[in-house]
């Protein structure tokens, strides 16, 4: 099948102050129509670059971009029929709100009456129809963001690129804006590619999450699935706050030996791991419990009290394990504790490639 937005082996090198950096190293991404894809990654990893390549503002050094199934490498931005909401909104300060929204239509010489109708329509939809004759300098951050979205919607492009559009908003406004954006996407069904470094935003908005790092997409798929079953140590550590705990262990006769204690190998991994093999165990802090029946012994290193719950940093051997604890038991640095693990919640990674062993096997069998 043909994808609505397809990036094929994209390479891009930047030169800044005489220093060359390879930002994208063979990035692939396939997006289906009507999907809300959030591209998540640390700053400076090429998220915005990827968007600009899709828009045609930057030209990739190698690789191809397909939109709606067509190769668009040589199509200039104005003919790619995409819309964009940049991080700073780029509302022209010298035009009224109306003229800003109408701009894409005016440029295409749409008849005046039609422009008026369409601007009114999107303005009403975004509840900014009372602001149309204001100057941008009179708008709040939230209103600016709506204007920017209105301008992106008005020309009816079905591919919308968003570059951290909520990052300039106050925390409270941001939550509301996020919800509205989700509703908007559900109603109008455009294909959205949304870039952010904010995990919560990514998890709550995305129908598909793409995690970018080291010039490629590290993981792509349902956000909760990636969270629960990360395909690599890096993704596990990157996604989630606090990050996934990674503990070294050794397979020994149906068990994994960790710091002198034994953990049962989860059902799904049986047959995949071999005796004597070193593995990395990934486990989320919320899947660890401090209890007297726990198998792993450790010493409390630090306690973060966050109100409804605490994060207990426990020293186990030479690694620090973070544990979520909802109970109100007071713990102090230096306390000896025992940690129990729910074996069904652990992920096993290869000790050298740091890849998810289960997913690797699944990939091979495909």
């Amino acid at each position: 099948m043909s994808y609505y937005v397809k990036l094929e082996d994209i390479w891009k090198e930047y030169e800044m102050k005489g220093k060359k950096t390879l930002v994208l190293k063979g990035l692939n991404l396939n997006v289906e129509k009507g999907e809300f894809v959030v591209i998540l990654g640390p700053s400076g990893e090429g998220k915005t670059t990827t968007l600009k390549i899709i828009a045609g503002l930057l030209r990739q050094d190698k690789g191809h971009v397909y939109l709606r199934g067509e190769l668009v490498d040589d199509v200039p931005p104005k003919d790619r029929r995409v819309a964009m909401v940049p991080q700073n909104y780029a509302i022209y300060p010298f035009m009224s709100v109306y003229d800003n929204i109408a701009f894409p239509l005016k440029v295409q010489h749409v008849p005046k009456e039609e422009i008026r109708k369409k601007v009114k329509e999107v303005a009403e939809m975004l509840k900014i129809d009372n602001l149309l004759d204001r100057k941008p300098s009179q708008l709040s951050g939230g209103q600016m963001q709506r204007v920017a979205i209105a301008r992106a919607l008005v020309k009816g492009a079905d591919i919308i690129l968003m570059d951290e559009p909520l990052s300039n908003l106050d925390a409270q406004v941001r939550v509301l804006a996020r919800e509205e954006l989700k509703q908007l996407q559900r109603n109008l069904k455009p294909t959205i590619l949304y870039v952010t470094h904010d995990q919560i935003e990514a998890l709550s908005l995305a129908s598909k999450l793409a995690i970018i790092h080291d010039g490629v997409i590290q993981a792509f798929g349902d956000p909760m699935e990636i969270y629960k079953n990360p395909n690599s140590v890096w993704v596990g550590k990157f996604l989630g706050n606090p990050p996934m705990n990674i503990i070294e262990g050794k397979v020994d006769n149906g068990f994994i030996e960790v710091e002198g204690s034994k953990i049962t190998i989860p059902e799904v991994y049986k047959g995949i791991v071999k005796d004597g093999e070193k593995v990395l165990i990934g486990v989320r802090p919320e899947d660890l419990y401090i209890s007297d029946s726990g198998a792993i012994e450790g010493k409390v290193e630090m306690v973060e009290n966050l109100g409804p719950y605490s994060i207990i940093h426990v020293n186990v051997g030479n690694t620090t394990v973070r544990v979520f604890e909802k109970s109100m038991i007071k713990r102090e640095r230096g306390d000896n504790v025992k940690i129990s693990i729910d074996p069904s919640k652990i992920i096993l990674f290869d000790a050298t490639t740091e890849k998810n062993l289960l997913l690797e096997v699944a990939k091979k069998s495909l």
Partner: protein, 294 residues
């Protein structure tokens, strides 16, 4: 304590006293030549000899100098004609300077150009050669190229202003987020259209400053206009006209001195006002170049 504060007060009075004296002397020094030429333009003194102290504080105001300046035939041309020529030259120079400066500034700021700094250094050196310094080679070259005319003059006036302004434009465009023109390009403009409609508009102060500098440079040039246009009185610019009126071109045929004064007032005052209006802008630009943060 009382002695100290008295000493402090005395020092303050002395300090401010000297300050005011210096300021008043400098203010008189600054204004005097302008006041003098203004008064002379309303006198009926035909030459320097007949100008006296009484003309600086006149009892009568005469408009004869202005009347003659604007209506009579001077040396085969006329003052209004020369001003018109100057306006055409200066206007064209301003427009071309703005385009050249902004395009260059845009390229230096935004585009991926190999050896950008070398190129910038190279064109920067040109600004050390005002056209007064290159008048001779320019004349020789343009004579061969049949460019000893308005076109040649505009061509010669443009680069100095443009390069200087291009550097200011570059700084100004640096401060405009690229997303402004990127959005315009996604919404249906080409890069050049986005430059014309969005960047030029956002950098309007620089556009105005460049236009002003270009206009002033051409309007007030004498050296090049004189060497290019001297033989043809009908093509003279207003500065050549004034030079002639001041009696420096051909003392024997020069008209009355108050006519020169009237010409100076008519040419000088509007530009002075323009300068003062844009002075804030100018100061900012010059100070930025001098590394002063505003």
């Amino acid at each position: 304590m009382k002695g100290l504060s008295l000493k402090y007060k005395l020092f303050k009075i002395l300090r401010l006293g000297i300050s005011y004296i210096v300021l008043i002397i400098m203010a008189i020094f600054s204004v005097f030549p302008l006041y003098y030429v203004f008064m002379t333009s309303f006198s009926n003194a035909p030459n320097l000899i007949s100008l006296g102290v009484s003309d600086l504080f006149p009892k009568h105001i005469y408009f004869i100098a202005y009347k003659e300046l604007l209506t009579t035939n001077l040396y085969g041309g006329s003052f209004p004609l020369w001003v018109r020529n100057s306006l055409i030259l200066a206007g064209s120079t301003a427009v071309i300077s703005v385009l050249l400066a902004l395009i260059t500034g845009y390229a230096l700021s935004r585009l991926d150009i190999p050896a950008k700094k070398t190129l910038a250094t190279f064109i920067y050196i040109v600004t050390f050669f005002p056209y007064t310094a290159t008048a001779v080679p320019l004349y020789l070259l343009f004579a061969k190229m049949h460019l000893l005319n308005y076109m040649g003059l505009i061509l010669a006036y443009t680069p100095g202003t443009s390069i200087f302004a291009a550097f200011i434009a570059k700084l100004s465009i640096d401060s405009i987020p690229p997303s402004y023109e990127e959005i315009a390009m996604i919404d249906g403009l080409s890069r050049f259209q986005a430059f014309l409609r969005i960047i030029m508009r956002l950098a309007l102060p620089v556009v105005a400053l460049t236009a002003l500098l270009g206009f002033d440079g051409a309007y007030l040039d004498f050296a090049l206009a004189y060497s290019f246009l001297l033989p043809n009185v009908k093509q003279w610019t207003a500065t050549i006209g004034l030079y002639y009126l001041a009696g420096l071109l051909n003392p024997a045929s020069a008209p009355a001195y108050n006519i020169f004064a009237a010409g100076s007032v008519l040419m000088g005052i509007p530009l002075m006002i323009l300068f003062i209006v844009s002075q804030r802008m100018m100061t900012r630009a010059y100070s930025n170049l001098a590394g002063v943060k505003q």
